[in-house]
């Protein structure tokens, strides 16, 4: 199969975000763990592993399209100093990812690359789930206060 270059570029940009997310979530997870916030560690660790698996799917797809997956490019990590900032940093990243995925799905649709589209749709679904979870956490902090929230996450 001949590579459709714009699609490869697009998949590489999505890959960059997935790799960034893998690292950002991983570090945040282990910071939570270090503070004894095990519930947050568990969830964020899983999100990191999921992002890595999605990066893997993207890598395989790019190779199949005869492109070179770019594992070198990584975005700026948004690392917070406390739980609230960490959750917000993750929301920022996930929001940027979502915007990009929605655009990407449109591109794949018009390029009639339905397999890439399906892959991006799958990633979008998980991205939105994670965004939903993050927003729930922030609204919980708002409702019950930071102290009570952190106690519940231990």
């Amino acid at each position: 199969m001949k590579s459709d270059l714009p699609t490869v570029k697009l998949l590489n940009r999505v890959l960059k975000n997935e790799l960034t997310a893998t690292n950002q979530f991983f570090l945040h997870a282990r910071m939570y763990k270090n503070w004894g916030l095990n519930a947050l560690n568990d969830h964020t660790y899983k999100a990191s592993i999921k992002a890595m698996k999605q990066a893997d799917d993207l890598i395989e797809r790019v190779l199949f399209l005869e492109g070179l997956p770019n594992l070198q490019d990584l975005g700026k990590l948004l690392i917070g100093e406390n739980t609230d900032e960490m959750l917000r940093g993750d929301v920022t990243l996930v929001t940027a990812m979502r915007t990009q995925l929605v655009e990407g799905i449109g591109h794949c649709e018009s390029a009639t690359d339905y397999v890439s589209r399906e892959l991006l749709e799958d990633i979008l679904e998980h991205t939105e789930d994670h965004m939903d979870w993050l927003e729930t956490q922030l609204s919980l902090i708002d409702k019950v206060g930071s102290k009570n929230y952190l106690q519940a996450m231990m």
Partner: protein, 87 residues
């Protein structure tokens, strides 16, 4: 939040340096040691410098509106923009 991961420099430290007169990335580099290694923080540091400059400019008009909060959470939209811009 951490702006420069390589040197462990936070937004508060950068804001303090800007308030004390740092007006360029070079100033920040000299004072705080940021943007010397991977350079990933340059984008965000510049965005903070720009926000400070814009803020100062908008403070001049006769009707001083309520000062925009400089709390770090307000910076997140800025960074979201930086992420997309660097694609």
């Amino acid at each position: 939040m951490y702006i420069c991961i390589c040197e462990q420099v936070t937004d508060r430290e950068i804001k303090a340096a800007i308030n004390e007169g740092a007006s360029s990335l070079r100033d920040l580099r000299n004072e705080l040691g940021i943007a010397k290694e991977c350079g990933q923080c340059g984008h965000c540091a510049k965005a903070m410098l720009k926000e400070h400059a814009d803020h100062n400019r908008s403070e001049r008009p006769p009707l001083p509106k309520q000062a925009p909060s400089c709390g770090s959470t307000d910076l997140f939209p800025l960074f979201g923009h930086a992420i997309l811009a660097s694609d």
